[in-house]
Subunit: 248 residues, 2 copies
């Protein structure tokens, strides 16, 4: 198996779910073979950053120079992973993918995009539109909608500032492992958002790798349905893509 580089700590609860998912996928995969001792695992290197520092280096959408420090902090982390000898890298946050080109600049090994993994999952499930929930930069930037547009998937952001703020505040709690009442908050946001829209199917992309933690017991499911809403769990979708690639 290829060695997996993981840019983590964004925040720590999501990093745990990525790592757990990859290890359990490896166990499941190897259960078809005979081996002695514990199940074979891909080697991994996790570079876990200080999210407080990076959060406070976020720039403004549209002002390129304001992101310099942010980009540099993560680019250095990716360089350390490359020097470690990993075969490829995953970045465990949707937010960072809004700066993908800049952050991965000069990195000579593959970096598996979470957007690509989400688009592949949508194709597999015949999904052509979803409501986008994520951090402020993810919901504000055109990065994810533009990417999905090229794959013929329409991305709907929450229609009001108030709904966006509810998601942003929930994420701050989830960053610290506080999950109480999270699924109710999201359910409310989703129903309010879809009130404004003429769609027969409610599909939500949890495009912050912390958001699936709001649904206790469903953290490890790539997609799940709750109260007639289909949720895309980008954490597990991305972790699965990484494990599949490690096997190739």
């Amino acid at each position: 198996m290829k060695k997996i580089g993981i840019l983590g700590g964004l925040a720590w609860p999501a990093t745990i779910e990525y790592y757990r998912a990859i290890c359990q996928l490896s166990q499941n995969y190897h259960s078809q073979f005979e081996f002695s001792g514990p199940s074979p695992m891909p080697e991994m290197c996790i570079e876990s950053v200080n999210i407080n520092y990076s959060f406070n280096q976020r720039g403004e959408i549209g002002n390129e120079a304001s992101w310099n420090e942010y980009d540099k902090y993560f680019n250095s982390a990716l360089q350390r992973l490359e020097k470690n000898g990993v075969d490829f890298i995953i970045i465990t946050a949707n937010t960072l993918h809004t700066r993908f080109e800049n952050i991965t600049s000069g990195i000579d090994i593959p970096v598996l995009s979470i957007y690509e993994a989400i688009a592949d999952e949508c194709k597999k499930q015949d999904i052509d539109q979803f409501l986008l929930l994520g951090t402020e930069p993810t919901m504000k930037s055109n990065s994810l909608p533009d990417f999905m547009c090229k794959k013929a998937i329409s991305v709907l952001p929450p229609p009001t500032k108030d709904l966006k703020l509810k998601v942003v505040n929930l994420i701050l709690d989830l960053f610290e492992g506080k999950t109480e009442n999270g699924s109710n908050v999201l359910n409310e946001v989703v129903n309010s958002a879809y009130l404004h829209m003429d769609k027969k199917q409610k599909i939500v992309c949890l495009a912050c790798t912390e958001l699936p933690l709001a649904f206790s017991g469903k953290e490890q499911l790539a997609t799940f349905i709750e109260k007639e809403v289909t949720y895309l769990n980008t954490t597990i979708i991305h972790a699965k893509a990484a494990f599949d690639y490690a096997l190739q």
Copy 2:
């Protein structure tokens, strides 16, 4: 805060508990300060190895040459952590500490010993004897008992082969995240072991970082009492020592 290097994957469920513990300790510590955004975290680099490979490279106690491959595999991983730029390292397994001198050979940054952390905790709690439960090499080697002897702590291994085997088999389940019935197995082992001994206090050192996972809900407690037995959780004792050191 200092950057923490973690040699992990031994096995993955214990690595999760170490990482979770350090992140939660950082949150608790920083809750006394004002800051904007998510809680500050120490930077970390986790080198997660393939436990199937290392398990099958285990040598025989007393036959130095038979451990060559095992020592080399882990020494290389520590070298990668040192090159990454971490300030110090923790090795997340008691078993590896039986080969501590060999594995850390040539490493020029501090490696915080789990034995030292256990001895410090014993001193704090006025503990001068414990039953040792761990992997086969940990229970068979003189490494941990000799270390504790110098700290005036007597180490009692399980008195029969059968009891040792029960612990070894339980650990193989825990390596894969299977925790069902684990606490009952350990309770039985402890009571049988103490039947043979004339001790007023039942104190058990869970000297395999996976063993605390057998006690659901207590994985994050450095010490805990269950059915009149005091358990030392070496995973959390070691993680706390690492966080304290990172703060210094």
